[in-house]
Symmetry: C2
Subunit: 290 residues, 2 copies
């Protein structure tokens, strides 16, 4: 079992905002990780965890510093798990063109199949398998989990839930890259990580997964989980990269409940996330704490 | 009249988080500035403003990104004004020793009297005079103002209120450098900015000001304003630099109401500020919106 090395522990809303380092077997490198434990966990309760997946260029620290999520998480008794957005380190290959939209800080939450990426870029299995095993053994976390994320991470959350029926209790997203097969960011990353054949990309695209029959199914294996999505209408990436309407149409056709809230005036930043994170945590808590 | 150049305008909790650039006549350089306007201001109301003074090494952006203050400010109808922590630019001298505790990012909110500092380091008059004149003319702000700040900025807020009876409606501080004449940070900065004679420092030290008869007096010129101070007990700077007990003793001897809340487990970071900022804004709103 990989060990968690505690680097920082800071009191926050009566809970504990921590930064850990650990070696990841999936990613074959050392990883940094943010975890918020609510007061209930410090008092001995095993609490459910919301996994937050950040977007392009982010680290394990953006959400803990900018989303303002700890306030409501403390009240609701939810832990927050905030991983980095890719494998890192000098041994990990990155964008050959030096871009910020692929490579370090931009792992897209898939399991790469192509060299040289497949040795490190396994962010999907890291988030879905390795982290819960590690954290539920080492910290006062229950086995009830949910996923939320932003942009690249919002999409990673949707894909993880759609690919693993029964594993998650809730899911939501801010401004997800909702149909990566159909946008520049997704095509560039998937072309590297999954190879040039777009047919292999479908299994890692939330809109394509919905079209092919996948559903967000909770632990009780009954009706699909409701998906909550917030999308700012002043988001500069909305037209070219995000395509929430494709996701919403696929969900409607599939009978998958999805609420797409179009937020007038909001952009792609953490100011938007901070404004609505309490709604998302409430959405998660309803399912996690029942 | 100096002009405000709008660099960014981002929707946040129904209000508007803005970044401006302007030329400061007091500081003789170009300055960046954060302003949050609550929904009431966007709807046409002139709203009161809380001036937030940040601490050592911070910029105009730390508080807007990390304090989580906009949520409660939006609810209470308060604007937030978040200036930078010093004059900046290649023409502005900084610490000759290259330290982070004096010079750029560390102006200590005084008006310097000594060369080469006095041409630029006039953060006190910038915050107390120039910014309110500029902003109340250009934005929907009323003339009701208050001051809050952190560390170096918490002390700057206390000094500004104590030096200007009648000008502010409320004041509070997080982990202020409460008696700079008696700590290394203050002695270094004041030695440069105000010269080697410590007797000249007294007029810029909140504890010394209270001892010499200054009081926090609101616009109605009656009883002293209550001062709210939060101090984390796990703050690594508490023993050597902050001296809140000296401030509290001076206030008690002076009949100046001051509530010093000692927060078990909290450190010097924005995780502490975020945890208690709503209490501070409530304290300000009671006085600002009456």
């Amino acid at each position: 079992m990989a060990q968690l090395e505690l680097l920082r522990d800071q009191r926050c809303f009566g809970g504990s905002q921590r930064r850990y380092r650990h070696h990841s077997g999936q990613l074959n490198c050392s990883m940094l990780l943010g975890v918020f434990l609510p007061p209930a966990a410090l008092a001995g309760e095993r609490v459910p965890a919301v996994y937050w997946l950040s977007g392009l260029t982010c680290t394990d620290e953006n959400a803990s510093q900018k989303a303002g999520a700890q306030r409501r998480a403390a009240e609701l008794g939810l832990a927050l798990v905030m991983p980095d957005t890719s494998p890192r380190g000098p041994e990990v290959p990155s964008d050959p063109d030096g871009g910020w939209d692929f490579g370090h800080g931009a792992g897209f939450y898939v399991d790469a199949t192509e060299a040289p990426w497949s040795h490190h870029y396994r962010m999907h299995s890291y988030v879905v398998q390795e982290l819960p095993e590690l954290l539920e053994a080492a910290l006062p976390l229950s086995e009830r989990r949910s996923l939320c994320g932003h942009s690249m991470g919002g999409h990673g959350a949707l894909v993880a839930v759609l690919r693993h029926p029964g594993r998650y209790c809730a899911v939501s997203a801010f401004a997800p890259i909702a149909h990566p097969c159909a946008c520049g960011w997704g095509q560039k990353a998937f072309g590297h990580l999954l190879g040039p054949d777009p047919s292999t990309w479908q299994a890692w695209d939330a809109t394509a997964l919905l079209r092919s029959g996948a559903r967000a199914i909770g632990p009780d294996q009954t009706a699909p989980l409701p998906i909550l999505v917030d999308q700012g209408l002043a988001d500069p990436f909305l037209d070219d990269q995000l395509h929430p309407e494709a996701l919403a149409e696929a969900a409607a056709a599939a009978g998958q409940p999805l609420q797409l809230r179009r937020q007038q005036g909001y952009d792609h930043s953490y100011f938007c996330i901070a404004s609505f994170i309490a709604d998302h945590l409430q959405h998660h808590a309803r399912a996690l704490r029942c």
